[in-house]
Amino acid sequence: MKVKVLCRNPDDYVRETTRDIQRVPRNYDPTLHPFEVPREYTRALNATKLERVFAKPFVASLDGHRDGISCIAKHAKSLSTVLSGACDGEVKVWNLPRRECVRTIQAHEGFVRGICSRFCGTSFFTVGDDKTIKQWNMEPPGCGVQEEPINTILGKAVVTGIDHHQREATFATCGQTVDIYDEQRSSPIRSFSWGVDSFSCVRYNPVETELLASCASDRSVVLYDMRESTPLRKVVMKLRSNTLCWNPMEAYYFTCSNEDYNLYTYDMRHLKCPVTVHMDHVSAVLDVDYSPTGREFVSASFDKTIRIFPKDKGHSREVYHTKRMQHVICVRWSADNKYVLSGSDEMNIRLWKANASEKLGVLSSREKIAANYNKKLIEKFQHHPQVKRIARHRHLPRDVLKQKKQQREMKEAKRRKEQNVRKHSKPGSVPLVPEKEKHVVAVLE
């Protein structure tokens, strides 16, 4: 005989622990839960407010350098290690969780211009104003042993930047030319130049690893392929680009930080105009770094602020500043997408949260659910004026605010003037040029 028995899943009515709240069977009949939109709206508003309340992005400041920080590098394999070079030729290795300097090397005479870690994390390279490229062991030497580089390459001219290949034992430097070095040789295996100019930054593409890009002082960004004997293409803009960074998840996008207060994201296949112009800074942008997820990037500016931009938005979603932070020279996004490091003129490295209101540490599952729900609510009601107002509000230093206002006025005046000119001239003679196309002067083949 077949006996049918009622059986229930204990997961439905037994709580996980005795500390957990009792499971209550729910009735989802919509008539029992009216006013869903107003209630959710209130929740969204509260979530937005709380997000702003908990937005405390500053985590730590690492002090110890005796001059302005000129460059920062992430360790390739360890999240807790960070390298920094200062304007007095000193290189420091930091331990982030302990927030202390582990090792100090007097690497160069004059500026340390660039620093990069080898892909395996066993050694790192520095370049300085003394025309040398030095390779250092990541492990500190034994007690009482002099700090000495593994390898030193004497260059002919000052080297201003360095970047290491993602998987091979080659690295690229820039100075008067862009040189590709093999780690085993003292002279470059390849040297690219295109006209007489000096370069300020060279970066390998982390995805399509044979590609490179560099910023030159003739206001151009030049693309290279390591396998070719000539550069690929050159795009000249109205003002000079300081640094650039490739998107680590999307092989053909890179973003360069420009002297004209803007950042430009380019598709390397279509250099005629940038994909996006990111505007918000009020002074020259000095450095840029992508988040490892490739969704956002952080930029450091001469206006003493750091801004975080979504990769496809024209305006920043976040701005970080402190009273004591001076011109920010270099900035890096940590490899686990949680932190941002900034090095500034006043000899400090600052550690920020990438997501200002995120709770650090382990989250319980209920906390996680609540956080997700709140995030979703804010996203859902983001267009409502009250929510938008609260979510967008940021406190800015007075001079930044003033400058911003001033620039807005200037822009408006320019726009108005153009409009008037257009109005009073023959139709079609003053074409409407979109913002994107205004900044590229030429693309050279």
Binding site: R26, Y28, P30, H33, E36, V37, R39, E40, K77, S78, L79, S80, L96, P97, F119, C120, T122, Q166, R167, E168, A169, D182, E183, Q184, P206, V207, T209, E210, L211, L223, R227, E228, T230, L232, R233, E250, A251, Y252, M268, R269, P292, T293, R295, A335, D336, N337, K338, Y339, I369, N372, Y373, K376, L377, K380, F381, H383, H384, P385, Q386, E445
Partner: protein, 753 residues
Amino acid sequence: MAVSAEKEFAMDNDVISASEDEEGSDDERKHNKLLQAISSLGGKRRKNQTERSEASLQVSEFFVSAEGAGDKVGLSDLLGTVEKTTGATKTKKQLRNLQNRNETLELPLNKEQTEKIQRSVAYEKSTKEVTNWQSVVIQNQKAEQLVFPLNQEPSGPKRVEQVVAGWKAETPLEQEIFRLLHMNKQPLHDPVLTPVEEASLMAMSLEEATIRRAELQKARALQSYYEAKAKREKKIKSKKYHRIQKKAKRKEFVKQFEERMKTDPTGALEELKKMEMSRMEERMSLKHQNSGKWAKSKAIMAKYDDSARKAMQEQLQINKDLTQKIATLSDDEHETPEESEMVPDFVNDVEPITDPVNPWMRSRIPQEEPEISCVTPDKPQTSEEEEERNEEEELLADFQRRRTLRRTEDDDLIPTAAEEQINTCEVSREEVVGDGTVEISDSEEEEEEDVSQFNTLFKLMSSEKTHEGPAPTQDQQEDEEQLDEGQLRVRSMEDLEVLEEVSDPRPGTPAAPSMPQPTASDPLAKRSKREIDLSEVLTKEAKTIKVALTPTVVEDEEREEQISIIKEAFAGDDVISDFLIDKRKQEEAGRPKVVDLTLPGWGEWGGVGVKPSQHKRKRFRKKMAPPPSRQDQKLPDVIISEKRNSSIATHQVSHLPFPFQNATQFESCIRTPVGQTWNTQTAVKKMTMPKVVTTAGAIIEPLVKEDYIKDKSTKPMGKGPAILLNDKRGAKDGKPSDKHKGRDSHKRRRNKP
């Protein structure tokens, strides 16, 4: 040049040194040196230099030096020896042709241009390569959720089998164990599953498994249904039922057989043979012949026991059935329709007599009808109908009386008679239709049957009436409504008033559609071709603008014609009244509505069909306070919308946000709640899923080409030396050389800053 200069310098040194150690050297050497020094100072130096090949004035691109300035290298110089060699006639010919050619070759492109071409070619190549990533990029952008690091290895402790892959069994015991495992085909190292298990895993994916499971479930359910049905049927004790069933089955079989004859003659033949065989067997055997032991005992019992007799008869019947020739079966078929079993079930149903004591219940059926038809306002029609009905009812009542009398006399006859009612049914129906009166036969049984037939008939008729009766009235109503709609277009004030009456029926009072008809028809009749009178329509006088008339050539009559034409053309468009209707509607909408707050069951009895009392309803009907007067109350030709509420406006979205196409889309997006209050847990989880998930302390590496793009041609070429060097370096460091792979097996996870 630099080399030669160095040499010179060295010679000078030599000269000095020679002069210094004058004493210790012999004359010959000194002399030589002196000669050399002199020669180096003089013109001999140049001669020496000309001897050096790399320092010549003209250096050809192909390392062939032409002797003396201005001399050109000819092809014959280069290939002088070719003429002497044998063979290679073809190339010789070609060379000769070349030599004879007088055309000069074009200059090679200058360096800049060649570089430009090289660059553009290289650029094209690299862009092509980069474009391979597009699909990956788009996929990542469209992904509902990305969990970083991508391509994560399964975290957690590794299996022992994976950890000790290199371990070998050494002791005899271990060896024994491993041999056993080997023999039983148990997994030893990496795959924990046996080959059989793996095969089964491979064979069935999750989807397939779910589908299969669903199928099985369905099959099981069906089986249980059938079982239950079979049980139920088995439990039915009625022999008649079973007999009918059996017969039906047989008929079904025969039918199938017939069909089979048409479609599959060979199969049918086989069937036929089978049947023939069974018949033969039956004829041969003594089964069902009532000659067995059991049959004999039954035969003895048959005298006294009815059931025994029946059993015996059944046996005989079976025998008869089986031994019957199949050809006769088809004859049976023709006869069957006359049998009672063939009649559909509903015909057999006895009139449901709920209360035999109360025969008037039956006459209820027509009485219920007026509930539907009461809406029809046509009084004369209904009265006629009622008269008819009364006559019918009287007749019916008569029948009923007689019937009840009969029933009291012999109650048990009715059910058996029910089957045979139908045979005469058709005849009686004809009678009913033909004469309209029913002849009551003499025999009582027939009479009774007739009565029941009449009942069924009457029921049919009455149902027809219920269908037909109210239907025309409804149509009428609809017609009226449509008419009203047609009349909505109003030209004058009077019409408007009428319209208003029609358009707002008072709540509570039932609408009487027939009532306004005469009143509405009057103005309709009255309405002549009147033009719109502005002063009548609008309370305020319209400003008349006087415009100087342009001198017109057209005569007055023509103009009037024109005007009339225009009027005719725009006769349908009545803008002003439309506007007025609009305004009135808005005012209506703005008026406060009565809110009914009665809760049934509070303070009195509640339940199905119990309505709250009038007193209570009156008490809890709240009239809302009238809103402040409209802004356009005194402006007859303006509608000022009062939808905007300034206190809410600060919370409302003024512009349609970007990704949305229209307002309804946006509204529906906002209207769907995402919270746990309104959704199940899984739904909430799905809806609030973050787009990007990262784990604290996990390094997110950039994409690796080998993981995504499987094209062999795009793989880096000519990387031999670099990898080699790297390997050397790894060896020097004393670290494993697989570090350059990018995706290392050891990833430090837990060293979060």
